[in-house]
Each structure stands twice: as structure tokens, then as C-alpha cells.
């Protein structure tokens, strides 16, 4: 399975060794405290907290930058719209368009929160193998139907992706270019074939799983065990999150 997300999950830093259940709860609390920030004076604290966590994680900067690239386009779209449409205080003009102060400040707030949340999210999912994180969610109470669906979907996602590539190559070899609106019918058949193949494969997978005892209660524990260091990390991060939320309330 080609999960780019797991590329650095086997390093040995305190964040990598942190119990995944604790890491999930504490970092999600931090992420939500970031989302609650509306006061611009708190933005340096957000940058410092997320930067310090990323440094401690030992993940390479290129890893974070590669993950920032795609959503950056959405941010660019907002950057084009907000300063011109939002607010009343005109800062300066670009041609006939007025750049407004409130829009620029809103953009700054959104951009910093976005970058910090993505950084903490990268630490959360980049320092633990993805499947271990899902097991941690299950240990925290994720219903087994959702957990099983996540495991199976993840297992077959790239396999089905490869199927799609093979079928698209076959279509191109037969002269299909897919550039005209009239090609919608052929593309619908491509998607339909993908669904039919997956459905038929799921039948075989289910029978094989039943033979291996799927559906019976598990006879093993999830294997997570928290020690003093896990609790200490969790307490520190949750306190930081609570501090940010409290500061936001006090500054309002």
C-alpha cells in the first residue's frame, strides 16, 4: 500500500512514541482551540505552538510543504476575493478595485489558522502509521462498522486506483481522448465498470474473511498502553489548548 502519509511514521522521537490514543485526543483539542481563535493577537502563539510541535516531531519540512501545496490553491482563491469584497475601510486601490482592511485581516487570520491546523494535523497523522491511528480511534469508541469500513477502504483504495489507471490506459490505446463533452457516456461506463468490479471483488473478500473468522469477537487486546510520559505530553498539550481558548475568551 502506497500511503505517502506513513513515509516518516517510523522515526523515533517522543512524538512518535506518544500513545496514539492520547496523541489523537490532545492534538485534536489543540486543533479545535486553533479553530476557536478570532483575535489576531493570538496568531503568534498559534505559529509558535504548531512550529514547536513540528520541530519536535522530526518530520522534514519538505513533507509539510508538499501537503500545503494543494489546499494552498483554495487559499489563493480566498486571497483574491476577500480583500476586495469584505469590509468598509479602504486601504488603497488597484485600478478600480478597492483593497479593504477588514478583508485583509480576515485573510491573515484564515491563512495562519489554516497553516497551523494543517501543521498539527500533519504531526498527528505523520508520526503514527495510519492504520494504528484508526485502531486508536476504535479504542476510543469509534463504532466497529465505521472502523472496519475505514480499514477496508484504505486497504483497497490504491488497488482500485491502479485499476482505474489500467482501464484509462486501455481506453487511450483504443483511441479515446476524453476531450469532448460527448465522451460523458464512455466515462460513465468507466465509473460503472469500476463500481461493478469493486462489488464483485467485495463478494470474494467477504467470503475469504468469513473463512478467517470475521465477525467473531476478537481474542486479542488493542495493545495500547499509556505511561507517565504519555500522560505528561497529553496534559501539556491540553493545557496549551485550554490556555488558547481562555485567552480568546478574555480578549473578546
Amino acid at each position: 500500500m502506497k500511503l505517502g502519509l506513513d513515509a516518516h511514521a517510523n522515526l523515533s522521537t517522543p512524538l512518535h512514541r506518544w500513545d496514539p490514543r492520547h496523541k489523537l485526543v490532545a492534538l485534536m483539542a489543540l486543533i479545535f482551540s486553533f479553530a476557536s481563535v478570532r483575535d489576531l493577537r493570538l496568531l503568534p502563539a498559534l505559529l509558535a505552538a504548531s512550529g514547536a510541535l513540528y520541530l519536535a516531531s522530526g518530520l522534514p519540512l519538505s513533507f509539510l510543504l508538499s501537503r500545503l501545496r494543494l489546499p494552498g490553491f483554495f487559499l489563493l482563491m480566498i486571497a483574491v476575493i476577500l480583500p476586495f469584497l469584505s469590509g468598509r475601510t479602504v486601504l488603497f486601490h488597484i485600478g478600480s478595485l478597492a483593497v479593504r482592511e477588514e478583508g485583509c485581516l480576515a485573510l491573515l487570520l484564515i491563512a495562519v489558522k489554516f497553516a497551523c491546523i494543517l501543521t498539527v494535523g500533519t504531526v498527528l497523522f505523520g508520526t503514527t502509521p495510519f492504520l494504528t491511528t484508526v485502531k486508536a480511534m476504535q479504542a476510543l469508541g469509534l463504532p466497529c462498522i465505521l472502523a472496519d469500513m475505514t480499514f477496508f477502504s484504505c486497504r483497497y483504495l490504491y488497488e482500485i486506483g491502479d485499476d482505474l489507471k489500467t482501464m484509462q490506459t486501455a481506453m487511450r490505446l483504443r483511441g479515446f481522448r476524453g476531450r469532448r463533452p460527448g465522451s460523458l457516456s464512455a466515462l460513465a461506463s468507466l465509473a460503472g465498470t469500476l463500481l461493478v468490479r469493486s462489488y464483485e471483488q467485495s463478494d470474494r473478500v467477504f467470503k475469504a474473511m468469513i473463512l478467517r473468522g470475521y465477525g467473531r469477537p476478537a481474542s486479542f487486546r488493542d495493545g495500547f498502553q499509556a505511561d507517565f510520559r504519555d500522560w505528561a505530553w497529553s496534559a501539556a498539550v491540553v493545557l496549551a489548548a485550554a490556555g488558547l481558548a481562555a485567552a480568546e475568551m478574555l480578549l473578546r
Binding site: 479553530a35 478583508g103 484564515i110 494535523g121 462498522i145 469500513m149 463533452p181 460513465a188 462489488y199
Partner: protein, 212 residues
């Protein structure tokens, strides 16, 4: 239509998680009433992965191309599994491909999952035309696909425009919501046509996939 992190406040994000949690709970309750609830999991999981992959297909809209949302088709094929499938699909997209976000996962799942569920019920109305009617499958496939993406777009724009943290006046907000939703009408038509074509394909090749 995937709202990224950083735009919505914590209150809206938590509200999104609450509505998504309620919808997921209700779907799981319906699934749990089946004779063997686990039997449908491999099917729903592989189809979830297939939907995620199918949404990577580029649809030509000269001079560019678009990716489809496929939430209507998801409802048509997966029925009560559609909401969990949307939730998992969005989780993968947020974590692996940075589409959407972790804080906005609940909001995005509600925006796309509830219309998927409505599409399932809308598509079931095709039986008015008879169980094996191609006309019914085509018409209700189109309505399910177009309606689901239209509802999702309208919900996303309403949430975005009313919660962006800088003052837009009420008139500007209303005009923006209407303009952005109308701009999605061509996408609704494409999504509806695509859903109808896939439903007709499945009707011919694997009709049991349309049972939901």
C-alpha cells in the same frame, strides 16, 4: 465544496461534528437492524474506495475539465451506508490528500452526506415507473445526482458566506449565495447526467447494485 480548515469557527465545526454524529448514528442504527449487519461492510467499503477513485475521473468541460462530487450516485448505490461512506471518504481526503479539513470534517460530511441520503430516497421513487423501467432509472438518476450536488453547493455557500469573519452586508451575502449557487447549475446538469448514465449502465450490467 470541501470547506478547508481555518475558515469556520470552532462553534460551527463542533456543530458540524454534532450533526454528522447524529446522522452517522441514525445510519448505523438502520444498518444494525439488518439480519447480518457485517455482511454489507466489505461491499460498502470497496464501493467507498471506488467512489473516491471515480471522483478522480476528469470530465471534459471545454476549455477545462472538472471532478465530480458523486454524492448523489453514492446515495443511489449505497443507501443507508451512504453517510458512513461519505464520512470515511472525506476523512481520507482530508488526511491523505488535504481536500477539506479535520476541523471541518463534520460540516463537510453533513453538507455532502445528508443530500446523498436524500438522493437515495429520491431514487427509490423510480418505482413509480415500474421496477425495471429504464425511463424511471434515467429520470430519477438525473434528479438524484443533480439535486444532491445542488443541495450540497447551496449549503456550503450559505455556511461559508454567513460565517466568514469579516463583514459582508446582508444584501451582498444574499446576492453572493444566489450567484454562487447559480454558477453551479452547469455542474448540477453534468453531475445529474453522469449519475443517470452510471445508473443506466448498472441497471443493464449489475441491477442488484441499485437496490441500495
Amino acid at each position: 465544496m470541501h470547506i478547508p480548515d481555518g475558515i469556520l469557527g470552532a462553534g460551527v465545526c463542533l456543530g458540524g461534528y454534532a450533526t454528522a454524529g447524529a446522522a452517522a448514528w441514525w445510519s448505523l442504527r438502520k444498518i444494525g437492524r439488518k439480519a447480518n449487519p457485517r455482511e454489507g461492510i466489505p461491499k460498502a467499503s470497496l464501493l467507498t474506495a471506488a467512489f473516491l477513485v471515480a471522483s478522480w475521473i476528469h470530465i471534459p468541460v471545454p476549455p477545462a475539465s472538472v471532478h465530480l462530487v458523486l454524492n448523489g450516485l453514492l446515495g443511489v448505490v449505497l443507501g443507508y451506508y451512504a453517510f458512513p461512506a461519505v464520512l470515511i471518504g472525506l476523512f481520507f481526503q482530508a488526511v491523505m490528500f488535504q481536500h477539506g479539513g479535520l476541523t471541518t470534517l463534520g460540516v463537510n460530511a453533513t453538507i455532502m452526506g445528508v443530500p446523498a441520503f436524500l438522493a437515495y430516497h429520491l431514487f427509490r421513487l423510480r418505482r413509480i415507473f415500474g421496477k425495471d423501467s429504464l425511463v424511471g432509472t434515467g429520470i430519477f438518476g438525473f434528479l438524484a445526482g443533480a439535486g444532491a450536488v445542488g443541495l450540497a453547493a447551496a449549503a456550503a455557500f450559505i455556511i461559508l458566506i454567513t460565517t466568514i469573519p469579516a463583514g459582508l452586508d446582508v444584501e451582498a451575502q444574499r446576492a453572493s449565495i444566489i450567484a454562487l449557487t447559480l454558477a453551479h447549475v452547469p455542474l448540477m446538469v453534468i453531475e445529474g447526467a453522469f449519475t443517470a448514465l452510471v445508473a443506466l449502465f448498472l441497471h443493464r450490467v449489475k441491477p442488484e447494485l441499485l437496490e441500495g
